[in-house]
Symmetry: none
Subunit: 428 residues, 2 copies
């Protein structure tokens, strides 16, 4: 019997999308690691009736643990502790020692700021913060990281009340897990393993077909929880299973490898960016970008330490730039058009030469919405990878979607072509 | 009596935080614009029992409209339409015409890909996609943008079922709003006006102070709903008000202009990207990027038609690239360091010259986490804008945050420096 949890995220600014919720996903990860199954995340504004409704919904769904985030501040719109107390049927009482500890924190904060701020009415601040020292009877207090304490209210379900700012919530979650109430509520939890496989260039329906084969051929297949997600041509396959089912998972990996060896580029969760970075160690790369216009260079330099292997690049949006900066023969452009494999190859060769690099990637394409023709429709993109040993891999793809889709997908394709070329594949 | 709505986001990858939910916040914005109050967002995995529980919870809370996102794909874990049909007590029937339209879409998709891909078992693909043509009796079909159709199921509440990918969901939401069922379910909504003002370089506390003045000095101020959001140094101020309060809003705009004329760059919601694009009309721009490494070029070319004014750029990550491709004197780098105003100016001048452009922007900085020093800490970035008439604006900033924060913030600063220089400002 597994242990289930729900998360209640409160705050009008989060509900209305003005502030992105970082706590739901972060807590989801922690619960998973902890061996607790997350069933629901609910988000509502700072209205007691809506918060109460969500707590009651989760209790009715039989969750063992509820974690709330937000609504612990000193202002009137912060109502979470009082609402949780009502939900649990516990009285709310002032804890004088906690009040004194909050007052100490405030005193230190105000002292630190007085150089740059106007005079502070300390009594008014204390009055506003007094409500933060109101605690449901029988709850365990989680000492504040900022000024807001959290609470753990034992029961069925047990409720953990945490503040909204992630830098306060995160350390306080660790304290909450250590409380007797949380340990008891989650006593029956299961530890799962979670593994990630990544594929590139396989449609979701192709994977679905292989998984149907797995259902028939792998004993215990149904005990694994497999979720798939398609993003920019990459398919992410996340599998959760109990430690005893390690052989069942090995069967799945074998099946996927048998059917999709070519598309499967990662079985350890590593991203294509990680793989390219590792493959570029000891090398020097230069980019020559037309339709992606800097996106490949930006992606390669996204990680710390990339200056060790990135020399630079040229964004050659105009034909003149292709000729002047990359040495592409103007006659070649006139003959084949700027979007053509010969021009892509000449761009990559030019980047190798101009930057003294041993690895180069070039893109030239029609991102749209204008500029397409019957022969070269919008989405046509030519790629070329050139290596210092003279190896060149060139291909043309027709990519779907909007201008921004074509540019982003092209950037991802470029990363995969680089990885294949650098690992000795045929780049196809 | 206001109209209330709930959003149900489905997908194990969203619940577990592996994929960030973009649909909840986007739909929240659209509902607000539409005059509907959002009460709850709920997120669950691809489990029919959990989805059903959330739908029933929202119905019990008395919402008039439920919008779901996700779970419309061809794989077995996509269960939203069947679950909504169960919730609404409607049978699920195959729509043969819809099935044919989906088959057409798939045929075109597969034809486009066959040049570069292996043979596809079209019948297997069709079988996997057949379930996407199952529709609850009496529902209106929302034609697919990808391969997954949506549905609108009339009733109390009315349920709008949309696919998960934002580029499919967003156009399909517009179609959903136009249906008779959604119009009827939301007949009692209030229409608000919503206006957006944008500022750059003003701290949130400075704005808060000005708004306090407004509370005292502008009659009817409290009837406006003002929300502010700080993002990458830009402050977005969104105000909702009833049409009768147009003069109250004019008072707010006047107050903000009186206090922050310098920082207020947009009163019509236009983004800095829109403004730079307009200012570049008839001009030619080139970029010379070190720490931003292509991000400015990528941002300038993000919009359709940018090839009319973007010549290209150089990503000069190494010192050699700065000298070889942009003609920056190696002695200048040796004397002042690569991250210095003289080098930024020489990069901009080099970009003007090499691309035959009349506008150039250069960045050179320390994005971190390594590479900082006491004199030039991580976050130090030098910017230079050079125009064809010889005007040059150069400045150095110390930007906070992580490597990615510094790079993104630098890109935004560059856009604002360009706008100010091109509109004849002092670029400060």
């Amino acid at each position: 019997m597994s242990v289930r949890a729900g998360i209640v995220v409160t705050g009008t600014e989060v509900l209305t999308g003005r502030v992105r919720d970082l706590n739901g996903p972060w807590l989801a990860d922690r619960l998973l690691e902890f061996g607790v199954e997350l069933a629901h995340i609910t988000i509502c504004g700072d209205r007691p009736a809506d918060i109460l409704a969500q707590l009651r919904f989760l209790a009715a769904e039989g969750v063992d643990l509820i974690v709330t985030s937000g609504g612990l501040g000193p202002t009137a719109d912060d109502v979470t502790v009082a609402t949780v107390a009502e939900f649990c049927g516990r009285e709310l009482l002032l804890d004088p020692e906690l009040e004194e500890r909050i007052a100490d924190i405030l005193r230190r904060m105000i002292q630190r700021r007085t150089t740059s701020s106007t005079a502070v009415d300390f009594e008014a601040v204390l009055a506003a913060n007094r409500k933060q020292a109101m605690v449901p009877v029988g709850a365990e207090i989680l000492e504040p990281v900022g000024t807001a304490p959290g609470v753990v209210v034992p029961g069925t379900p047990t409720v953990v009340v945490l503040p909204g700012p992630p830098r306060e919530l995160q350390p306080m979650w660790a304290r909450a897990v250590a409380t007797a109430a949380v340990q008891q509520a989650t006593a029956g939890r299961t530890t799962y393993r979670q593994e990630t496989i990544r594929m590139f260039g396989l449609p979701e329906s192709g994977l679905a077909e292989t998984l149907r084969i797995g259902e028939q051929s792998i004993a215990g297949f149904e005990r694994m929880e497999i979720t798939t997600c398609l993003r920019r041509g990459e398919l992410e396959i996340v599998t959760r299973y109990e430690p005893d089912d390690v052989d069942v998972y090995a069967g799945l990996v074998g099946l996927l490898r048998d059917h999709h060896a070519r598309e499967m580029f990662s079985t350890d969760g590593a991203l294509i960016d990680d793989q390219v970075a590792a493959l570029l160690s000891g090398r020097t790369i230069a980019t020559a970008e037309s339709c992606t216009a800097g996106m490949i260079a930006a992606r390669l330099t996204d990680r710390a330490g990339s200056s060790a292997y990135v020399a630079g690049g040229v964004v050659s949006y105009s034909n003149e730039a292709k000729s002047d900066l990359l040495g592409v023969d103007a006659a070649l452009i006139a003959e084949h058009g700027a979007v053509s494999e010969p021009v892509a190859e000449a761009m990559a060769a030019g980047a190798l030469r101009r930057f003294g690099a041993d690895t180069a990637i070039a893109t030239t394409g029609i991102a749209g919405p204008g500029g397409g023709s019957a022969e070269k429709p919008v989405g046509t993109v030519c790629f070329s990878v050139a290596l210092g040993d003279g190896t060149t891999t060139t291909r043309t793809l027709l990519l779907p979607g909007s201008r921004s889709d074509v540019r982003e997908r092209s950037t991802t394709v470029a990363m995969h072509m680089l990885a294949r070329a650098l690992s000795g594949g045929d780049g196809d």
